[in-house]
C-alpha cells in the first residue's frame, strides 16, 4: 500500500503517517511512498520502526537522492530490506514533470493508496486519482477543519474514499473485511526510541503537536535529553506562550511558526 501526503505536513499529519506505517509494516504490509520530505519520509521512517519492508519510488534516477536531506533515510531503507525504484534512467535529476509520472507508478505498485494531509490540487491528490484510474482502493485520514492541509483529504472522503483512523481500517480494506472502530491511536512519540537532539531554544517545539499532547518523558527518550532538562525547556516554551499543558503532556500552541 502507498502512503502519500503533504511535503510540509502538520505535526499531526507526520505523526499519523509514521504511526500507520509502523503498524502496517508490523502487520507485514509493504509501505510504498515517494521519499519526499514530510509525510513520505514519515511513512518510510514508520515502516522502518515497524521493521517492515518499505519501497521508495523516486522521481529521479535511483542513483540520485532528492531531496539530499533524505540520503541517510534512503540508505536505511535499502539496509532494512526495502528498495529504491525508479522508472527514470540513472543520473536523471529532479524535473518538475517527472513527479506526476512517478506518482502514477507509485499507485500502480500499491493495492491501496492512503492520503495523509493534502492541500487542494497537491501531488498527493494526483496519486489518489491515479489509484482510482487504475482501480485501486483509495482511503484518506481526516484532519482538522481549520487546516488547509485537510481540505484534499476531506474532499476524497466526501467523494467516497475510505476513512482511516488506524491501521486496522486499512487492513480491513485490504482483506475485504468490515473495519471496526477502535480506541484512539497512540501517537508515535510514545513508541519512538531515539532521535536527534533539538537545536537552539525552540528546538523542542518542532517535536510538539497541536493535535495531541506529548509527554515530557517521551520527548526526553526520543531526543536523548535528560528529563529535568526537558521539563525546564517546556516550561520556558509555556512562559513564551508557544506551548501549553494538557493532561500529562504538552501541546504546541497554534498560530506561531505553524507550517
Amino acid at each position: 500500500m502507498a502512503i502519500v501526503g503533504a511535503r510540509r505536513p502538520t505535526p499531526y499529519g507526520e505523526a499519523v503517517a509514521e504511526r500507520l506505517a509502523t503498524d502496517l509494516a508490523h502487520a507485514g504490509v509493504a509501505v510504498v511512498s515517494g521519499l519526499a520530505v514530510g509525510v513520505d519520509a514519515a511513512a518510510h521512517e514508520g515502516a522502518l520502526i515497524g521493521e517492515g519492508c518499505t519501497i521508495a519510488v523516486l522521481g529521479t534516477g535511483v542513483d540520485v537522492i532528492y531531496p539530499a536531506a533524505n540520503t541517510d533515510l534512503a540508505a536505511r531503507i535499502v539496509a532494512g530490506g526495502g528498495a529504491l525504484v525508479s522508472q527514470f534512467p540513472d543520473g536523471t535529476g529532479p524535473k518538475r514533470d517527472h513527479f506526476p509520472r512517478r506518482n502514477w507508478t507509485m499507485a500502480a505498485l500499491a493495492d491501496l493508496v492512503v492520503v495523509v494531509e493534502a492541500a487542494e490540487g497537491s501531488g498527493a491528490l494526483i496519486t489518489a486519482e491515479a489509484g482510482l484510474a487504475q482501480g485501486k482502493a483509495v482511503m484518506a485520514v481526516p484532519g482538522s477543519v481549520f487546516s488547509p492541509l485537510s481540505v484534499g483529504c476531506h474532499q476524497l472522503l466526501r467523494d467516497g474514499a475510505g476513512l482511516v483512523q488506524n491501521a486496522r481500517d486499512v487492513l480491513g480494506e485490504l482483506n475485504g473485511l468490515t473495519a471496526v472502530l477502535d480506541d484512539p491511536l497512540t501517537p508515535p512519540d510514545r513508541l519512538a526510541v531515539e532521535g536527534e537532539a533539538p537545536r537552539g531554544r525552540d528546538g523542542l517545539l518542532r517535536h510538539l503537536s497541536d493535535a495531541y499532547p506529548v509527554e515530557p518523558g517521551d520527548l526526553a527518550r526520543r531526543l536523548g535529553l535528560a528529563f529535568p532538562d526537558v521539563v525546564a525547556r517546556l516550561t520556558r516554551l509555556e512562559l513564551e506562550g508557544k506551548a501549553r499543558r494538557m493532561g500529562a503532556g504538552y501541546l504546541r500552541v497554534r498560530g506561531r511558526g505553524m507550517t
Binding site: D183, P184, T186, R190, L191, Y212, P213, E215, P216, G217, A220, R221, F227, P228, D229, V231, A232, R233, L234, T235, R236, L239, R245, M246, G247, A248, G249
Partner: protein
Amino acid sequence: MLPRLPGVVARVLSCLLRGLEGHLVEIQVDISSGPVGFALVGLASGSVREAKERVRSAIHNSGLPFPSQRKLTVNLAPAELRKDGAGLDLAIGVGISLAALGLPSPRSTAFLGELALDGAVRHVDGVLVAARGLIRHGVGALFVPEADAAEAALAGGLRVYPCPSLSIAMAHLTGDTLLDPYSGRAPAPAAADASPEHDLAEVQGQDSARRALEVAASGGHNLLMYGPPGAGKTMLARTLPGLLPPLELQEALELAQVRSVLGDLTAGRPLEWVRPFRAPHHSVSLAGLIGGGSGLATPGEISRAHHGVLFLDELAEFRAATLQALRQPMEQGHIVITRRSGSVVYPARFQLVAATNPCPCGWEGDSQRSCRCTPASVEAYQRTLSGPLLDRIDLQVVVARTPMDVLGREAVGESSAAVRARVVAARQLQIDRQSTLNAGLRAPQLRRWAPLDATALSALRRWAGQRGLSARGFHRAWRVARTIADLDTGGPVREHHVMEALGYRLVERAA
C-alpha cells in the same frame, strides 16, 4: 527514702499516661482495724475499680496473704489525676502484699503491668512512654511484663526487671529469689542499603512522578498525584519510604512512643528503622486521622506517620472538615487534642502524599477513554481540591495511564537504592546549610538560603505575573527550585531549576 507516715504501711510507685507524658502515681496502702472492707480511692475510673477483684484473686492465687479480716484502703495519688487502664494492677498487688507482710517499700522503684487472676503479669500499652516519664521523676528501677522489657529498656538509664508474675516480683522484694535486670543489646540502626518493599525499579515509565518523588524525598516536600484510576498512583506513593534515609535513633524513639501508647510495638523488637507509611481510607473519621476518641485521646494516623509518609488516596473524597484539620499539624509538626480530661500533644511531622482522580468518573483528560462527567461536576470536583490544603503541597504532578501498546517497551527505571543515594546527599546538604529540609523554608529563609540570580528571579516573576500566582505559589516553586538545585550541584538556584520546578504543578485554575 520515702518518709513513713503513721498508719500508712506501704507506698509503691507506678505510672499513668497522658498522651506522650508519663505521670508518677503513688499507691498508698493502709491496713487498719475498723470495719472489714476494701476501699480503692483516688479518682479511679471503672477499669481501675475493677482492679480490686483482679488483685484480690491474683494475691490469693500467688499464695500471698490478703488482709481479708481487716480494713484495707488503697489510695491512688495524686487524687486530681484521673486513673484509668489496668497498668496499675501490679503496683497495687505489690503494695497490698508488702503491707500484709509488714515489709518496707522499695525505694525509687516502679511497677507496671496488668494482673491476671492467677497472678501472671500481662502486657500493657505505653511502657516506653511510662519509662521515660519515670526517669524524669528520678525512678531507677522498673518492673514490667516480660514482653515489654525490651521496650522499657529503650528509655535507657533504668534497671528494667522483666516480671512474669506477682509471686516472682514479691520473691525479689523479699530477697528470696533475685530477678536479673534486662540486658538486651542496644538497638542497632538498620542497614542503610536494605532494599525496600516497593522498589522504584518496578515502575515503568511515569517519568514525571518518578522525578517528583525524588524531589519530594530530597526536600521533604508534600506531593499530589493527579490522574485516572489504574495509572499507578498508589504504587508510586508506596515507593517513597524506600527513597528516604532510615530513621535516626531519636526519630525512631519518637515514633516508638506513639506506637507504644497504641500498643502497636512488636515485642522484643520495639524499634523500627523504616519510615512509616500510613494510608487511611477516605472514610476515616476525624478522630481516626488526627487523633482523639472518647475519654483519653489516642494518636491518629498523622502521628502514626510521624517522620514518615501519610498517603491520602482519593483526596477529593475526604470530608472537608477532615482535610481542614490537617492544616495545624502540617504547619507545626504536632497536634494538640483537647478533651474534658485535659489536652494531649502528639507529634505529627509527616510528609503528605495525596492522590486524586481528575473528576468523579476518573477519566477526564485520559488519552484513551472519554470522561462521562458533566463539565459542572468536573468543576465542582476539582474545586474541592483547591484551597488551603493544596497551598501546602509543593509538588503537583499529572500521572497518566501508560497505553497498552507502550507497556513493555519502556526501559526499566532506576532502582530505589540509586535514587536514595542522591536523596541522602541532597538532604545532608540542606541540614548542613540550614538545619532543616527545604520544605520547611519560609520566605525570609528562602531569601537567605536560596537566593535567585537575576535571570531566575525575573523568570519566576514573569510566570507569577502571567499566571496570577499567589505568594504561596511563588514560594512553593522557589522551595522546589532550591531542592532541584541541591540535587543538581548544591550550588546557587539557577533559571533552569526554577523552570523545572514550575513544571511540577497543576494548571492553575481561575480563582
